[in-house]
């Protein structure tokens, strides 16, 4: 695959075989949207370093790989035992996807309280759910993003969560994506639609992990609508192997007085790019975006956040922390747009990084576009090394250099993890972090 048109032809070919496997589902209305999305995909360009938004992230490695579309039927190769390591205790439901396809046998969705609907997207599509169709067709109207088009073209599975007004789900919904394919490099395109009604509450933990050392390309899209006075906590974990590629988009719409938190923990992946876009569409909204990324080797992690302060009296908080080792690289781009209407906006953004090696690189850039006058916007970015004073203090008490470094690194990253409300998830993340630091 040398030229761009060859690359697109490859995806066209993948679409054809995907379509063949759809059988009866081809007659569902969503299929017209898939074809429309594919058309869009074929007309849009792949980004390159000349695009300001892609200046530091080179997607050549993804394009040069011949990823095949995941089989439409879930593989039964994966047994419960193999995913035990990724278990999180005390959740309300567990949805497991193997290579992007829902595994009923590994999942566990018990009886849900009234007003709570949790199912896999494929089932929701079969039921002709028009919420999904509306979301996709609305997006395609104005979409300029080639990866979004690709995601819609291959839309088939993911999670569908609907929390009705006033419904409260105390324990988190756990969504686990594992890649299991050894020989073939697969791509999968999860789409998640989460709708939370007025005054409702839910928390979701989404985890991407690898069961094999095969290469995988995940191009995910998540739509979240947070109703008035509702509260949504979202945790996303990326712990794939270092041959994996992950492009993830999350689009959040928040309504009056709603609270939303998003916590992103990235420890795996060869190339990871996360774009989180939040629309604060009414008054009195609280929105928090936190992230921590630990990279080593030649990993590359690109995080971007875009916060649209559209209405007055909303607060947004962002704290992203990076720990970069080896020859790895990171990007943080935090955009805050305060629209003319959005007086009394309070937006705080901070990106702190520690470079553990000479060769690690971090590019960080805040972007504030402020069109209102009575606002408080603060931003700060630091790129530093572990404090020599602290390191010496620990070592002077007998703690070896490597362990002392790990302790300080752990403490630095721990700030984000300690903010995760669900204790078992926090413990899981603690262990993930410690394990990561020791290797």
């Amino acid at each position: 695959m040398t030229t761009i048109s060859d690359k697109k032809a490859w995806y066209q070919k993948q679409f054809n075989s995907f379509e063949e496997g759809l059988n009866g589902q081809k007659s569902l209305p969503i299929h017209d949207l898939r074809k429309q999305a594919l058309e869009q995909f074929l007309t849009l360009d792949f980004p390159n370093s000349k695009n300001e938004d892609w200046k530091y992230t080179n997607i050549e490695p993804i394009l040069n790989h011949t990823f095949e579309t995941s089989p439409n039927k879930v593989s039964n190769q994966v047994k419960a035992k193999s995913i035990e390591a990724f278990a999180i205790a005390d959740t309300s439901a567990q949805l497991v996807f193997v290579d992007g396809r829902f595994s009923e046998s590994l999942s566990n969705i018990g009886v849900m309280p009234t007003g709570v609907t949790i199912k896999n997207l494929s089932d929701a599509l079969s039921e002709n759910n028009d919420k999904i169709q509306t979301a996709i067709s609305e997006r395609l109207k104005s979409n300029k993003n080639i990866f979004t088009a690709l995601n819609s073209a291959f839309i088939l599975d993911g999670v569908y969560i609907e929390i009705a007004e006033h419904a409260i789900l105390e324990k988190p919904i756990y969504v686990l994506h594992v890649s299991a394919s050894h020989e073939t490099s697969l791509f999968n395109q999860p789409y998640n639609l989460i709708t939370v009604g007025q005054n409702a509450q839910v928390s979701i933990v989404e985890n991407y992990a690898s069961l094999s050392d095969g290469s995988v390309f995940i191009n995910s899209f998540t739509d979240i609508a947070v109703g008035a006075d509702a509260k949504v906590d979202y945790v996303k974990i990326q712990q794939e192997n270092t041959k994996s590629y992950h492009i993830g988009s999350t689009e959040i719409h928040q309504h009056r007085n709603s609270h939303f938190t998003h916590r992103l923990i990235t420890s795996g992946g060869a190339l990871v790019r996360n774009v989180i876009q939040v629309h604060l569409d009414a008054k009195g909204i609280e929105s928090t975006l936190d992230g921590v990324y630990l990279t080593n080797g030649t990993q590359h992690v690109d995080n971007r956040t875009i916060i649209h302060h559209a209405k007055p009296n909303c607060n947004s908080h962002e704290l992203y922390k990076g720990i970069l080792d080896g020859k790895s690289s990171g990007v943080f781009n935090g955009k805050i747009i305060v629209h003319p209407d959005a007086q009394k906006t309070d937006a705080k953004q901070s990106n702190k990084n520690i470079l553990l090696s000479q060769d690690a690189v971090m590019n960080t850039k805040p972007q504030l576009e402020i069109f209102a006058d009575d606002v408080k916007c603060t931003h700060g970015a630091t790129i530093g090394r572990l404090e020599e004073e602290s390191l010496f203090y620990l070592r002077s008490r007998g703690i070896g250099k490597e362990q002392a470094k790990n302790m300080l690194t752990y403490a630095f990253a721990g700030e984000i993890i300690s903010r995760v409300g669900h204790e078992p998830t926090r413990t899981y993340l603690d262990e993930l972090l410690l394990d990561r630091l020791e290797h």
Partner: protein
């Protein structure tokens, strides 16, 4: 136990220590006094293994080994302990966890078994009493937000838990109120034995009423200009450091 021979040290090309000589035997307590900026902390930090200093001349022998060749953690494991003049705040690292990690690292070095949570807790409880430390401080991140006095107490508490052979206390008394000074000194005295030794850096005779030194040394401009018994501290208190300079000058 410790022999410092003609130690010259510099930082960024500035020589701070100009040939320090000092011999400390097991069972002894040595006080080092001297004006601000004379190099007391520099000496203390070099002994603990701080890497910012260039040793341009001289050597330090500790229990027959070349101390300057050892990493800070190995020195700690061999029994060297520095109570910092300015203890470092480490956000995010829990005090108890930190101390347990330190103690077990030292035990491992010495070929001893790790202490389990129960045994560690028992030890900590006992040592906390010794310095009358508030249990709450243990649950907090290392030194973070501690008052000046609490930080100093935490240093002595760590010392009590790690049970070093050679303790270097760098102005542990400054920042302590009278009661705390008594408690901390009492703690130090209880840890005293014929097998271990201490170097106590201080500006005040006051501390030496509680921790009675066998020797007092005066460090001026990176050199020990005068040594004597505990009465030297009293003379210094009375006459000031200029007096040592004058007597030095007269001797030359």
């Amino acid at each position: 136990m410790l022999e410092i021979k003609n130690l010259h040290a510099s930082v960024n090309g500035n020589e701070i220590l100009h040939g320090v000589n000092l011999k400390v035997n097991a069972g002894e307590i040595h006080a080092i006094m001297g004006p601000n900026g004379s190099g007391k902390s520099t000496l203390a930090q070099i002994l603990a293994g701080r890497e910012d200093y260039n040793i341009t001349e001289g050597e330090v022998i500790y229990n027959g080994k070349n101390l300057l060749d050892m990493s800070p953690e190995d020195r700690a494991s061999e029994g060297v302990f520095l109570a910092f003049q300015y203890p470092v705040e480490i956000p995010g690292v829990n005090n108890t966890y930190f101390l347990k990690t330190a103690l077990n690292a030292i035990r491992k070095y010495r070929g001893e078994e790790s202490l389990d949570a129960m045994d560690f807790l028992a030890l900590v409880k006992q040592k906390m009493k010794l310095v009358e430390m508030d249990e709450d401080l243990l649950k907090r991140p290392v030194n973070e937000g501690f008052s000046g006095g609490e930080k100093k107490r935490n240093e002595i508490f760590q010392m009590a838990v790690l049970n070093p052979k050679l303790s270097i206390l760098d102005e542990t008394d400054s920042g302590l109120d009278i009661d705390a000074l008594k408690i901390v000194s009492n703690g130090v005295n209880k840890l005293r034995s014929k097998d271990n030794a201490a170097i106590v850096v201080t500006h005040y005779q006051r501390l030496l009423n509680y921790i009675v030194p066998d020797f007092v040394h005066v460090l001026v401009d990176g050199q020990i200009v005068k040594s004597g018994g505990k009465e030297l501290a009293l003379q210094l208190e009375e006459k000031g450091y200029d007096w040592t300079r004058e007597t030095e000058g007269a001797a030359v």
